[in-house]
Each structure stands twice: as C-alpha cells, then as structure tokens.
C-alpha cells in the first residue's frame, strides 16, 4: 500500500500539486487521470520518491519512503518512466536484467535464476523474440513493452507506470493494461484515455487545477457531472454489459449562450 498525505510540489511559483492525499490499496489498480498539466506525472513522481514533497509524507507499506535505502525502495516500487533511455547501446536482455539489480549485492553477477526471470518477463509482454536486439533500434511500442518487462523483473510489491500506453497500438494498449490488472500487485497508472481507465482501474483519482477534483472507485469518478467541468468537454456515459464506456462531444458554448439569451 502506498499512502501519500498532504503532498505538494511547485515548479517555480506555480503549485502543481497542492496538499494532495491519495492511497493506493493492496491488490488494486489506481488510475491517475486529469487534463494536461493537472499534475498526474508530478504526483506519480512524488509517489516513487523522484520528487521529495516539502510537506506531508509518502509511506510504502507503512514505512516512510524517504527513509528507505534506495535498493530497498527499488525492491518495493518498480517504475516505468517516460524517460525512454533511447540512446543506450545496451541490448534488450541486458536492459531487462538491470531490473534484477536491486536484488543483487554489488559483487554478485546475475545468476541463471535471474536470467529465467528476465526471460519470463519478456515473454509476458510479448517481447521474448527481442532479447538479443539493441534497445535503441526498437520501435516506440517495443521499447515500452521492454521497459515494462524490466519493471516486472524487479519483482517489486508495487508497480507504478507513467502513461504506459503511449506509443502502443490499440491491441498492446489493452494487453499491457490487462497484464497490469492480472498481476494482482498494488499498481498506480497515469492514464490519458478515460475508456482505458474505465476498463482496467479499480480506483481513480481525478486531478484538476492543483488538487484532487474527485477520488473514489472507477464507477464513482467516471461520472459525467464530475468529469465535464474538469475536462471542459461534453461526456455521455454508457453502462454496457462489459463495463463503463464514455462518449465525448464538444460543448457548444455559443449554442448555450444563445439559448440562455
């Protein structure tokens, strides 16, 4: 469980996150949603300690994150960041094996067990055939899957992903999130696509202008009256057999004004 209470972050004089509290509960997938610039990525970075909030605190399974040694933190939190590392000359296999680093002492080499874990993680994201390739030569989607495989190889108790569906075609968007869902680890995912959030997240935190606009179960947050003011777009919700689906349409302000007049 990751619990952030009253955390804040500002870039220069602009508070992006201001006194926000969120909880990622065990075995559940928490989605962070919100418009561009609402601070989703900033909040995620606060949750894994890349940013240290000047206020409040972040705890992982009850222990304060900033007090954990970095290797211990890496055994608890596996992160897939946007920083692509696209210029590295490492092969895919080497890159995924780096995920085993937090479990190895400085003098230890990767063992056969580590290689098996890495190979299995690559297979899980459908990238087993890429093992010997240079990471820098992969397509955006392949890279994303490899980075997820590395996070899986960390075998951490929590998984945090910053827009993991970026660069992925529609099939892999669903495959990756389906995978996250079936892992059963406590996960936090920054998502742009609300329909993906609807299908794969248990809980949602909706961010808007510095704070939490809404938080709760996916069913509670994905409500047209909650979403419309934050996103500034017309939303129609359909509850079908396989879950919630959202349809979007521009709000015609001029038409509204005319009818008001």
């Amino acid at each position: 469980m990751i619990r952030a209470s009253e955390v804040s972050w500002r870039y220069g004089a602009n508070p992006v996150i201001d006194g926000v509290s969120v909880t990622a509960r065990p075995g559940r997938v928490l989605g962070l949603i919100g418009p561009n610039g609402s601070g989703k990525t900033t909040l995620l970075r606060l949750l894994y300690g890349a940013l240290r909030s000047p206020t409040g605190q972040v705890t992982v399974d009850g222990d304060e994150l900033s007090a954990l040694p970095s290797r211990e933190a890496a055994r608890r939190l596996a992160v897939v960041v946007q920083e692509a590392g696209g210029e590295t000359a490492l092969t895919v296999a080497e890159l995924v094996l780096l995920g085993r680093g937090p479990h190895l002492s400085t003098f230890q080499r990767t063992s056969r067990a580590d290689h098996e874990i890495a190979a299995r993680c690559l297979a899980r994201v459908g990238a087993a055939h890429l093992g010997g390739r240079a990471f820098a030569q992969l397509s955006g989607g392949e890279r994303q899957r490899v980075l997820i495989a590395r996070a899986l190889a960390q075998q951490a108790t929590h998984l945090l992903l910053d827009e993991p569906t970026n660069h992925l075609d529609i099939r892999y968007q669903h495959e990756v999130l389906h995978l996250v869902r079936t892992l059963g680890t406590c996960s936090v995912v920054v998502l742009h696509d609300l329909n993906l959030a609807a299908r794969y997240c248990d809980d949602l935190v909706l961010l808007g202008s510095g704070g939490v606009a809404a938080a709760g179960t996916t069913d509670e947050v994905l409500d047209a009256t909650v979403l419309e003011p934050v996103y500034g777009i017309g939303i129609q919700r359909l509850d079908l057999d396989d879950g919630i689906h959202l349809l979007f349409h521009p709000i015609d302000h001029t038409a509204k004004q005319r009818s008001a007049a």
């Binding site: 596996a78 920083e83 590392g85 000359a89 490492l90 296999a93 995924v96 094996l97 680093g101």
Partner: protein
C-alpha cells in the same frame, strides 16, 4: 567456467552465456596482446633489443631466473632502468585514460566526453607551467613537476565541483558546463604564465609537457602511486559496472533501480578527478585515448560496463604503448611528443564515429 556451467544447466537464455564466453575470449586475447606488446615495446627504440633477450632480462630481474647472462650490461640498463618503467607507465596511463573516459561518458551521458572534459588537465598544465617556468614546488625535489601538476589538477577539480554543485546535487549538464568553463580559464592561465616568463626555452619545455610524454618514467614513487590509483580505479569501475549502466540511461531510471544518482555521480567525480590528476601529473595531457578507446571497447563486447571497463583498460594500455613506440622510433633519435601521435590516430576515428552517429540518426 561459469559460462560452461550455465550451458550445462540448460539452454542459453537471453544469450548471456555466449556473451560471457566472448568477453572471456577477448580478455584473454587482449592480455596476451598486452604482454607481447610490452616485450616488443621494451625491445624497440634507438637501440633494438631482440624480444627473447628482453624477456630473459625481465625474467632475471623478477624471479631471478638462473642461467647464462647472454646480454651486455648496457642492454640490461636500457631494458630495466629506462624502457620497462616507461612501458609500465604507458600501460597505466593508457588504461587509466580509457576507463576514466568510460566513467565520464556514463556520468554525463555523452559519447563525446573524455577525461579532459572536466578541465582537470588544464589545471595540471597550469601547475606544470608554474613549476617549469617559475620553479614552483621546488621543495619537492625530483617530484616538483608532478607534485605541482597534481596540485593544479586538484584545484581545478575542486573548482569544477564547487561550480557544478547546486543544492547538494551535481547534474550532468552542470558538470559539463563548469568543466568547460574552468578548462578555458586555466588554459588561459597557462598561456599567461608562458607569456609572462618570457623564456623561449621554458615555453618549449611546457609545450613538450602539454603534448604528453612518458619520458619521466622511473622506478620511483610516482610510478607506484600511479599503479595503485589506476589499478584501483579499474577494479572499482568494473565492480560497479551495473550501476554505471543505469546511470548512463538516466537519473530517474537509476533511482527507480535502487542507485542514488547524485551520490554515485559525486563518488565517481572524486575518483575520476584523482585518477586523471595522477596520470596527467605523470605523463602530461595525452589526448584522444580516453575518448576513442571506450567506443572501441563497446564495439568489441557491447555496452554493459562490467565488460567495457576491463576491455577498455587493456585496449587503452596496448594502444598507448604502440603510440609511444611510434613516438620514439619515427624520428629517432629525436622523440615526438606522444600526444601528437594519439591525436593523429584518434582524429580520423572520431570523424568515422560522427559519421556513424549521423547515419543512424541517433
């Protein structure tokens, strides 16, 4: 051995065992190459000595191999007193420059970084110029020049560190910028010292020193210090290979994989400064080795630092010794500064590298 054990255990997952075998092969081949290079290099120069005689003289001194003395006393003096320390210093400097280049390229995430990027050599040059032209550090006797150069290097790295530090962190871009700025300032200082001294002969000595030379090598404390520092550095960088891998990818990645990027970069900065300070004090600024050799090593064994560091060390040692042989032989009995040779060999390689980078669009 481990590689074979892995194969017995089942299929070679991810090609790791094959990779380890290949690295083992290269390490063995390069070690043999280094020994052969050493023996041949000791034998070549104004007075040629056959390799077998060289090997016998060295063996005689090292383990006291009994047997007939088939060589002349002058041959023995040339091999043991003059050329062997010189070749050993060449090995240390070449290997040291190469691994410091590897470390810096990972630290600042730039494939064009080299050990002189941080302005440390400019500091050493200023110190050396002060010693040659104005007799600075005369109290250190035979070590006046190298001590003065080392103090200059130390001052330069402190300056770079103080400027690059911001809020307790040293980021790669700040490190790059402050290194370049300090480098230029100290380069100007060296030029001013030469100008102010008004001694043509002194200016020539400084110039010779700036271009690098192994001519100062003796069996002395300097060689011992260089050996301890540089061998220690190679060992350390090999051990932290995995951490160098993640640092080279990015700070955020490093952090999420359990490596504190700020602390690690700081430690590397201190160790690299120390190593570069020592090797510049011992042999002047020899260019291009630290830039070019890491790339050669990566071509041979891939990008993982646990393999790149030892291979780069061996390659750097071999290359520098051959450059020194050329420097001694080309215009014999006159000696060309070794920096001229390494730059002449390195520049075309750099051009090829740039073309290749450009072609792949990376």
């Amino acid at each position: 051995m481990t590689a074979i054990a892995l194969c017995k255990g089942g299929p070679d997952l991810l090609g790791v065992a094959a990779q380890r075998r290949r690295t083992g092969f290269w390490l063995l081949a390069l070690t043999v190459g280094l020994i052969v290079t050493g023996v041949v290099a000791v034998g070549s120069g104004a007075v040629g000595i056959p390799p077998l005689t060289v090997a016998r003289i060295i063996g005689h001194h090292l383990v006291g191999v009994p047997g007939d003395v088939t060589w002349t006393p002058p041959q023995e003096a040339i091999v043991w007193q003059v050329r062997l320390p010189r070749v050993l210093l060449g090995m240390l400097v070449g290997a040291g420059l190469a691994v410091c280049g590897v470390a810096l390229q990972a630290m600042v995430r730039n494939v064009l970084a080299d050990p002189y990027l941080l302005g440390i050599n400019s500091g050493a040059s200023s110190g050396a110029a002060a010693a040659i032209l104005f007799g600075a550090g005369a109290g250190f006797g035979q070590y006046a020049l190298s001590t003065s150069a080392f103090l200059g290097a130390l001052a330069a790295s402190l300056l770079v560190f103080l400027i690059a530090r911001s809020g307790g962190r040293v980021t790669s871009i700040r490190l790059l910028l402050s290194g370049v700025a300090v480098g230029y300032a100290l380069y100007a200082t060296t030029s001013f010292l030469i100008f102010a001294s008004g001694s043509a002969e002194g200016a020539r000595s400084v110039m010779f020193w700036l271009l690098g030379s192994l001519g100062l090598a003796r069996w002395d404390a300097l060689l011992a210090v260089a050996a301890i520092v540089l061998i220690g550095m190679i060992g350390y960088l090999t051990v932290v290979g995995r951490r160098l891998d993640v640092l080279a990818i990015g700070d955020e990645t490093a952090q999420t994989l359990g490596v504190s990027p700020d602390r690690f970069r700081l430690r590397l900065l201190v160790l690299v400064s120390l190593s570069v300070g020592v090797l510049v004090s011992a042999a002047g600024s020899i260019g291009f080795v630290g830039l070019v050799v890491p790339h050669l090593a990566r071509r041979v064994v891939g990008a993982a630092h646990v393999r790149v560091v030892p291979v780069a060390a061996l390659l750097g040692a071999i290359l520098l010794i051959w450059a020194d042989v050329l420097a001694r032989v080309l215009l014999a009995p006159q000696e060309i500064p070794i920096g001229i040779i390494t730059s002449l060999l390195g520049a075309p390689f750099l051009l090829i590298l740039i073309r290749r980078l450009h072609a792949t669009g990376a």
